[in-house]
């Protein structure tokens, strides 16, 4: 499988915040979710990848080419959706499109029209009057209309209602049906990813915690609940994190089998991505 994006040794300081030696790769034909709490470094990572903020060190390769040297060629193939959509408020969507379109060699006017229609957007509406959901959809239309091979999006779903989020996920899945497409998006709403992601990358405090296949992650980790009297230091060590009350404990672990043999009365459940994320960053 080819990698569409390779980030290696990325460092960036921002006041007291630091990205520390960030390394990861995005496989082709996959939706990769980039998760972490607010302030973990998701936006800084994305902006550094795109060259919107200068990085202190590190290399970014997209489609096998160095981002610094081939920026124009590479960006022609990337669709970008940022949290704060960079639009001129006074223009209509149609006028905004006329400014953006000439920048891309593969602009597809038919695709633009059909996307606008599908997303229920009126090209003559002024950008200043758009709701948050409409802005995100318009950004997405622009990203999809230049036949991008890689979509990079920063928190595209934050602040959107569940119905629009669901629509958004279906658009992504539709986009992925074409061969050679890839998506990278950050979110702190991990339930968005339960349904659509192929890969999950977790960042915390400026460092990559893991980069895993989603299904493998969900198969490996289990939520284990049981009797607190049966917890000893030895079993405690088998957990990633654990919460105890007088009546029960609930923990997240990849050693469910060992714990089963150590404790008599336990329940195991399948976790959601959020449980695993909290297990990693929530501590013991």
């Amino acid at each position: 499988m080819n990698n569409v994006l390779e980030v290696s040794g990325l460092n960036k300081s921002y006041g007291t915040f630091q990205l520390k030696d960030v390394n990861f790769t995005l496989p082709e034909n996959c939706i990769t979710g980039f998760i972490g709490i607010n302030g973990a470094g998701k936006t800084t990572t994305i902006k550094s990848i795109l060259g919107l903020v200068p990085k202190d060190s590190g290399t970014v390769k997209a489609f096998g080419k160095d981002m610094g040297k081939y920026e124009r060629e590479i960006k022609n193939r990337i669709g970008i959706v940022l949290d704060e959509g960079a639009f001129y408020e006074e223009l209509t969507m149609s006028e905004m499109k006329s400014i953006v379109a000439p920048a891309y060699s593969r602009w597809n006017e038919n695709e633009y029209r059909s996307c606008m229609e599908r997303f229920d957007l009126n090209p003559q509406q002024k950008i200043s009057t758009l709701s948050k959901g409409m802005r995100m959809k318009f950004s997405l239309v622009l990203a999809l209309s230049h036949e991008a091979d890689l979509l990079i999006m920063d928190e595209p779903t934050s602040g959107l209602d569940p119905l629009i989020r669901n629509q958004f996920m279906n658009i992504l899945l539709e986009f992925m049906k074409k061969e050679g497409k890839s998506v990278f998006f950050s979110t702190h709403i991990t339930s968005d990813l339960d349904k659509v992601a192929d890969m999950i990358i977790l960042i915390n405090d400026g460092q990559i915690v893991f980069e895993e296949e989603k299904d493998a992650l969900l198969d490996t980790y289990k939520i284990v609940k049981g009797n607190p009297q049966e917890l000893f230091d030895k079993t405690r060590k088998l957990f990633l994190s654990i919460q105890e009350t007088e009546y029960s404990f609930t923990g997240i672990t990849k050693n469910a089998v060992e714990i089963k043999s150590a404790c008599k009365n336990i329940l195991t459940e399948k976790p959601a991505i959020e449980d695993i994320m909290l297990g990693f960053i929530g501590g013991k």
Partner: protein, 127 residues
Amino acid sequence: MNILISNVSDKPLYQQIKEQIKDAILKGELAEGVLLPSIRNFANDLQVSVLTIRRVYDELEQEGFIASQAGRGTFVSAGNIELLRDSKRHLVEIQLQEAIHNAKLFGISKDELNAMMDILYEEEETK
């Protein structure tokens, strides 16, 4: 073909999917030459990762149940399935031969052996 994915099963997702496809092929629900869905479409429909489906397809191909043709898709390849069915049959035959051999050795008659078989078969079914 039906595929049911259990959230409470201890079996990994890819294994659950793989076994159900294999069953469908062995039972003939998926006939030779049938085109399987593309990896992405299948993944979207089952709401699992494309990487999981890719793994399922790769393993089924290694085991000779399916064959992928570049640019055309992935097909059920039944040439091997007849062989597989035969080899399974062959396996049972060998085990039966062994049982018959032992039965003769211990002076157990054919009728007794048949009766034994009936009882054990029923027991296995009600398990």
